[in-house]
């Protein structure tokens, strides 16, 4: 099965049109945009933050941000859902990096929830369903540790040292895995070598 990414061209065109309307201050368009995207983006925020209250807070900030910057979307070089998901992810990561957290007060959750990683992750599931397409096939070609490090970082919003702690490997090793893994992914995706 070789389906295109979940954001089809028609959906993308519709979301882009809604964003353009939002840029003009049309609140109805914003409500429609929210209805069309909030479950997807809330799911993403929960996946990264692992706390519903945090995800709500971050998503609220993110949508207000999307509203305020909808007019800038025209200049963006990515699909609407990619643009919006990036705003959400960036807010999630900023949230995880906020100073009181980096001081270590909330570290314990990582260990509490680490078992969850043993279950098949969303990417494995999407891969099984054939949804993640080229990226999934390129990820498949990475070494297991490289792939796991990249997925941990992406879905948990972890820094290099945090990924290293989770994988019980030296930071330098993990950094190299991630750097090489990303560059291999890029080579694989950009060359179209994944068919």
């Amino acid at each position: 099965m070789n389906r295109p990414s979940p954001e089809t061209d028609a959906q993308a065109a519709e979301l882009a049109a809604l964003l353009a309307q939002c840029g003009l201050g049309k609140q109805d368009a914003f409500a429609a945009l929210y209805r069309a995207t909030s479950a997807k983006l809330y799911g993403l925020a929960i996946r990264i933050l692992r706390r519903e209250d945090w995800a709500e807070e971050v998503l609220q900030e993110a949508y207000v941000n999307i509203w305020n910057h909808a007019a800038d979307y025209a200049a963006a070089k990515s699909a609407p859902l990619t643009w919006m998901a990036s705003i959400v992810r960036n807010r999630c990561i900023d949230w995880l990096r906020r100073p009181q957290r980096e001081l270590g007060g909330e570290q314990s959750e990582f260990t509490i929830e680490s078992r969850e990683d043993e279950a098949p992750g969303p990417l494995e599931q999407a891969l099984a369903a054939g949804e993640a397409g080229a990226l999934a096939r390129c990820l498949e070609r990475l070494e297991g540790d490289q792939r796991r490090a990249i997925q941990l970082a992406f879905y948990h919003g972890l820094t290099h040292p945090e990924v290293a702690a989770k994988m019980k490997r030296p930071v330098g090793t993990v950094k190299t895995w991630i750097r090489r893994g990303l560059m291999q992914l890029k080579g694989c995706l950009d060359s179209g070598d994944h068919q």
């Binding site: 409500a31 479950a39 997807k40 509203w67 906020r98 969303p122 993640a132 997925q151 992406f154 750097r179």
Partner: protein, 236 residues
């Protein structure tokens, strides 16, 4: 220059998008992004490459209150943008401080009911006593998401690697209490408050803004002198 190296740019963009940078490195990278459209393009490419990962996260229907919270925050901005953004209006309030606050308070007191009712207002002035930034307290009691509205009259100059932090100045000799960070890039913004803080903020004598290390003061106290300062006025 180091940041011109295409390989380094690509690697940094990839790690920024993946999300592995520390708070400090992220802040540094974001300040580069602000002035480098090419780098923004490299970031967009990585966002597109990795977007299937984001799409693969299972969808979860958010609670209805989330939309209500968002809606309540975008509505006030939409109304009468001319009023909020008219620089001339603010400049004309050059007779600064308490007078300006009173004028604004009276003005807002008569505003149409669609705007959330305002409890308190403070106009912060710069060192030359010109109005620089205004802080409004919407009525907090019934609010699920207590927040302050911060309106910049003119955007403060900010150095890379620093953040602007808003402080409540309590009456008496108690030390300033942080209200959160202010984004220098946004003319109008809402600063979310912790519920406990929202209950005490009504007792504030004034508010002030300071420049702090990226991410806010590490000590919980202002580390430099105040850029702006203003006294609070009750509207009610």
């Amino acid at each position: 220059m180091r940041y011109r190296d295409p390989e380094l740019r690509d690697r940094l963009a990839a790690e920024y998008v993946l999300g592995t940078m520390s708070a400090r490195a992220r802040a540094r990278f974001k300040s580069l992004l602000k002035y480098d459209a090419g780098l923004r393009g490299v970031v967009a490419q990585w966002e597109t490459r990795l977007s299937p990962l984001a799409n693969a996260a299972p969808a979860v229907e958010p609670p209805a209150r989330l939309w209500q919270g968002i809606e309540s925050r975008i509505r006030p901005q939409r109304r009468a943008p001319g009023f909020w953004n008219a620089l001339g209006f603010w400049r004309s309030l050059a007779a600064a401080g308490i007078t300006a606050a009173l004028v604004v308070a009276i003005f807002l007191g008569g505003a149409p009911a669609t705007d959330p009712p305002v409890d308190m207002v403070a106009v912060m002035t710069d060192k030359q006593s010109a109005p620089a930034m205004m802080v409004l307290w919407p009525q907090q009691k019934t609010k699920e998401y207590p927040y302050l509205r911060v309106q910049a009259v003119y955007p403060p100059q900010i150095l890379p690697g620093t953040s602007l932090e808003l402080w409540m100045l309590p009456t008496g000799s108690a030390p300033p209490v942080s209200l959160g960070l202010v984004n220098p890039a946004e003319a109008t913004q809402l600063v979310k408050m912790k519920a406990a803080l929202a209950r005490t903020v009504g007792e504030a004598w004034g508010v002030a803004l300071s420049m702090e290390p990226q991410g806010g003061s590490p000590t919980g106290k202002p580390t430099t002198g105040f850029l702006y300062e203003g006294q609070c006025v009750k509207v009610m």
